[in-house]
């Protein structure tokens, strides 16, 4: 395999991925500590702990160990922090969901338990399939993604059921979650295809002649989503589209127009949709109707207040009093049980993941990679911020789940697949034989030099090479 920096043998690969392993082992330990706390509370509730109660933790541990081994075996050279960060957040998710009894009481619920291994195998599968620059193939098929997005929406609209102000498909699956991937892939592919035209503005107006197919698809999606009253998803996808446009074309005008459009559309929509206006009202003054509109957020905040600075520990608290605690309000449960100190650490874990994602997006070698990774990152970031902000009453409630932690099959699969895509992008591009540039000659320590067995491509192989300055201590 002619990939630069890729380990030649399994042994080298094992050694190369040691940091990932160390961090993952710590994650398993953290999960174990929390798990013991949870199990310890069971006899008090009248349940004896049985061997089968260990199943969720074992499945969790095996799934992440397996993912790591698969990456080692495939001699994957991509990012090593992503998987541990995902693991840490999934550990929080495991604990919170086990806490809420979602894995079944007594008899393990295998459809829930096997969701994580399935999601992780998707992640690893996408990462391995897309590595070495092959992820760019997804960009070739960008109209497929557009059609798929619209099909999903049409399907949901046709068969969906209305529940809690939004439309769900049969069996409370939310296929619209998939849009977070398909629409990102479509937009990244489309902008990549017309990158030059879209980067050059003739006047203060964006190049609409090239932009209109994107706007048309996006407008249709937004309209269909609004018909389902899914304002939160519109916000997430809209922000992601803007971030991708700005990151890909490097033209700040998109951000300016986007924000202006968002302000206009936001006020117009809020005056049209009583649903949104009610949520704004409940956000501004939850005490106007504390037992109705303000109930959810106030119960969540009450739990947090009860948890205080240090929290009562897992399973001591009674988070069942918070409504929809297992999905939208799971952060309130965690903040209640782990206290403010614990929620700072949880948010820090999110920050580690998101900043790593930003860094990977900012360092992808191709514009398509930049845009796809930026899209995934923005979706995750906006979703996280909207959820945390909504639960803490910093922003209005949008009914959005907390990625990686909230309970929800379609959401989990989409997020893991998207992260697999970023992992694939972090693997870099295939080496170009003649491209050994001056950077390879720059001094670096010998052992790191030895570790990279393959030839090293010069930075000039990257599209933005012309703008690069020499890297200070790039190793």
């Amino acid at each position: 395999m002619a990939t630069k920096g890729a380990p030649a043998t399994i042994d080298q690969s094992w050694a190369l991925r040691a940091p990932e392993r160390r961090l993952l082992l710590s994650v398993l330990l953290i999960a174990l500590l929390g798990y013991l706390m949870l199990l310890g509370a069971r006899p008090k509730d009248g349940f004896a702990v049985r061997l089968v109660d260990w199943a969720p933790w074992l499945v969790f541990a095996l799934a992440f160990s397996g993912a790591h081994c698969a990456l080692v075996a495939a001699r994957f050279r991509g990012d090593q922090l992503l998987l541990p960060a995902i693991g840490l957040l999934s550990a929080f998710g495991l604990l919170a969901q086990f806490r809420m009894g979602l894995f079944g009481e007594g008899v393990p619920d295998w459809s829930e338990l096997l969701l994580l291994p399935l999601a992780l195998s998707l992640l690893v599968g996408v990462a391995l399939a897309g590595r070495n620059g092959r992820y760019a193939l997804a960009g070739r098929a960008n109209w497929i993604w557009a059609v798929l997005s619209l099909l999903i929406l049409g399907l949901v609209l046709a068969t969906g059921q209305r529940f809690r102000g939004a439309v769900y498909a049969v069996g409370f699956i939310t296929p619209t979650e998939l849009l977070k991937l398909t629409l990102v892939l479509f937009s990244a592919g489309f902008v990549n295809l017309h990158l030059k035209a879209l980067s050059r503005w003739r006047s203060v107006l964006p190049p609409l002649r090239h932009l209109w197919p994107l706007l048309a698809v996006w407008g249709m999606v937004a309209a269909l989503l609004l018909m389902q009253r899914d304002l939160g998803l519109v916000v997430i996808l809209g922000t992601a589209l803007l971030a991708m446009l700005v990151a890909g074309t490097r033209h700040p005008g998109y951000a300016a127009y986007g924000m202006g459009l968002a302000a206009v559309a936001g006020t117009a929509l809020l005056s049209l949709f009583s649903h949104g206006q009610r949520r704004i009202d409940a956000w501004l003054d939850p005490f106007a109707d504390p037992t109705g509109a303000g109930w959810q957020v106030l119960q969540g905040l009450s739990g947090m207040y009860a948890g205080g600075l240090w929290g009562e520990g897992f399973s001591e608290a009674r988070p069942r009093y918070a409504p929809i605690a297992e999905s939208d309000f799971i952060y309130a449960v965690l903040a209640e049980e782990l206290g403010f100190a614990g929620s700072v650490l949880l948010v820090a874990a999110f920050a580690v993941l998101l900043i790593r994602l930003i860094s990977l997006s900012a360092r992808a070698r191709t514009p398509y990679g930049v845009m796809a990774a930026t899209g995934v990152t923005t979706v995750l970031a906006v979703q996280t911020l909207l959820n945390l902000g909504g639960v803490t009453k910093a922003v209005p409630l949008t009914g959005i789940t907390l990625p990686l932690i909230s309970h929800g099959g379609s959401s989990l699969l989409t997020v893991f697949t998207s992260l697999g895509l970023v992992l694939a992008i972090s693997d870099g591009e295939p080496a170009k034989p003649r491209a050994t540039g001056p950077a390879a000659k720059r001094g670096r320590s010998k052992d790191t030099e030895k570790r990279r067995a393959g030839s090293r491509a010069g930075p000039r192989s990257a599209p933005h090479a012309g703008k690069r300055r020499p890297r200070p201590e790039a190793g």
Binding site: I30, G40, M304, G311, V344, L345
Partner: protein, 532 residues
């Protein structure tokens, strides 16, 4: 597994669980530290140099997270500073360990230490209890998670919840509570100037008075503005609030605090103000008061004295009062006299008097850190200079002039306090504060003598009681809604007043029969208790 079950059921498990909790947190910190340690090994050398937006984007994420955590802290750690939030948790949070359940909201006491409001723990939730039920509903108010706060409960809320951070000690106490997660925060008790005994008597008398049993009574100490009674009937029970109370368009308007907000034509009670104006302008002498009354133009119905109408009803003729002086006119409540007096003084004089007597204002009282309650002064709209009949009507407290019971009590208290109105106080520990001088000290003394005559041998002689020395003015205010409103405004004892009052009975008929007896009963009771 048995071993594990035994361990989980054993006594040291709770300590071990706390240890696990700590270890969990430390392991998280360790993980972060590990990421930091491994940062060089985690570098990706085969990727491109970061684009310029990497740092701003990462900074934005960190900023957003910090903002959210900071805001979360204001709820999670500083929740006590949000009164409505504490009230919500106290009645809607079923978590037994929520510290809000242990906040002992301070009690509200009357001047003798009788409990007007207290919090009791019932089934794990704190419940606010008002032992006197509807008696103090308007002035003490309520603290309800659903309906919020009102009255003193609202104004003094922070002190009651123990979160009035007035001193450095309070802040360090808050810090201690945060760190130790103490379960027993405690609010301050508040002592009011109110008197439960007098209040009960006032309320019962108002409900039992002639008419529909509506009205208001205010009793104040003129020297320091302490409010002993502030009753408004009908009332509601703050122990049993329900949405219907707030939505229904009940014509009896039980939520309205008639004492501070109810605007009524003052009728003859307004003659106190006119007399003060005449004294200030140095009026002396007599005005002729014929039986067929006084009018500014023959197109308007003459203003007559009530004796004319009584005689007419009885089929007799009344000869009129003839020329009388100010003292007699006030004692006999002569409309003809005061209508002429007001017109003689003129429009500007009345407007100035209204200004000096604090009309057309909202006067803060019971001032506390979190806000104040307000009493509405009466309304004295500008009367057009050409409208002399309107001036004549206003001079006898009819037409467009209105007053609230609390405002008239304030005026009576100023007369009793040598012309100086003290700001009404409800909390014992607030400093007395002069609000305004309404009249010269000498005028106030002369006015007291004249008001005393009105009780001794004037319109209110029916309530003259040995030893009380009540001075006051009756009012019988005609209104378009039915029988006249009955007023009695005054003070006792006249020579050195210790209490001033204003009583209003809606549609209670004559002031001398509706309101005046209530004032007498209140003064009798006050004298019994040594407050007079």
């Amino acid at each position: 597994m048995d071993l594990l079950n035994d361990l989980f059921s054993s006594t040291p498990w709770s300590a071990m669980r706390a240890g696990l909790h700590l270890a969990f947190g430390l392991a998280l910190v360790y993980w972060m530290w590990q990421v930091y340690q491994l940062r060089s090994a985690l570098r990706l050398r085969h990727l491109a140099r970061p684009r310029a937006w990497q740092l701003p984007a990462a900074g934005a994420v960190i900023l957003a997270f910090t903002a959210i955590l900071g805001y979360q802290a204001t709820w999670q750690l500083g929740g006590t500073a949000r009164p409505q939030f504490v009230a919500f948790m106290q009645s809607h949070d079923r978590r037994q360990f929520n510290p809000a359940h242990w906040i002992q909201r301070g009690r509200i006491l009357d001047q003798r230490g009788r409990v007007l409001a207290e919090s009791r723990n019932q089934a794990g939730a704190a419940e606010r209890v008002y032992p006197y039920g509807p008696l103090f509903a308007h002035i003490i108010g309520y603290a309800d998670p659903r309906f919020g706060l009102s009255g003193i409960e609202s104004v003094a809320n922070r002190a009651l919840n123990g979160s009035a951070l007035d001193s450095l000690d309070d802040w360090s106490e808050l810090g201690r509570l945060l760190l130790t997660q103490s379960k027993r925060p405690r609010g301050q008790d508040l002592v009011t100037t109110l008197d439960a005994g007098l209040q009960r008597l006032a309320m019962e008398s108002l409900m039992g008075a002639p008419g529909p049993g509506r009205g208001a009574a205010v009793v104040m100490r003129p020297k320091d503005g302490a409010v002993l009674v502030m009753a408004s009937a009908p009332s509601f029970d703050p122990n049993h609030l329900h949405a219907g109370l707030f939505n229904a368009r009940d014509p009896a308007t039980p939520l309205l605090n008639r004492a501070t907000q109810g605007q009524y034509p003052p009728g003859s009670a307004f003659k106190i103000v006119l007399t003060a104006q005449a004294l200030a302008r140095g009026f002396s002498g007599r005005l002729d008061c014929p039986a067929d009354g006084y009018t500014t133009s023959r197109h308007y119905r003459p203003i007559r004295d009530h004796e004319y109408y009584s005689a007419k009803r009885a089929g007799r003729t009344w000869v009129g009062r003839g020329p009388i002086d100010l003292t007699t006119a006030l004692a006999q409540s002569s409309n003809v006299f005061f209508a002429q007096l007001g017109v003689l003084a003129g429009h500007r004089a009345l407007a100035e008097t209204g200004e000096r007597f604090l009309f057309n204002r909202s006067i803060p009282f019971a001032v506390a850190a979190a806000g104040d309650l307000r009493l509405q002064a009466g309304r004295l709209p500008t009367i057009s200079a050409r409208d002399r009949y309107g001036l004549a009507q206003a001079s006898i407290g009819q037409g467009r002039v209105t007053a609230t019971p609390a405002h008239l009590a304030l005026i009576a208290a100023a007369v009793a306090n040598d012309g100086v109105a003290m700001r009404p106080r409800l909390l014992r520990d607030t400093e007395p504060e002069a609000l305004a001088r309404l009249m010269a000290s000498g005028d106030a003394k002369r006015l007291r003598v004249m008001l005393r005559r009105a009780v001794r041998d004037g319109t209110a002689r029916g309530i003259e009681t040995e030893g009380l020395e009540i001075a006051g003015k009756t009012g019988t205010a005609e209104n378009p809604h039915g029988a006249s409103h009955s007023w009695f405004v005054g003070m006792a004892p006249a020579s050195a007043p210790t209490l001033a009052f204003a009583i209003l009975v809606e549609h209670g008929g004559y002031g001398s029969t509706g309101a005046a007896p209530i004032a007498r009963d209140l003064m009798l009771k006050a004298a019994e208790q040594g407050m007079l």
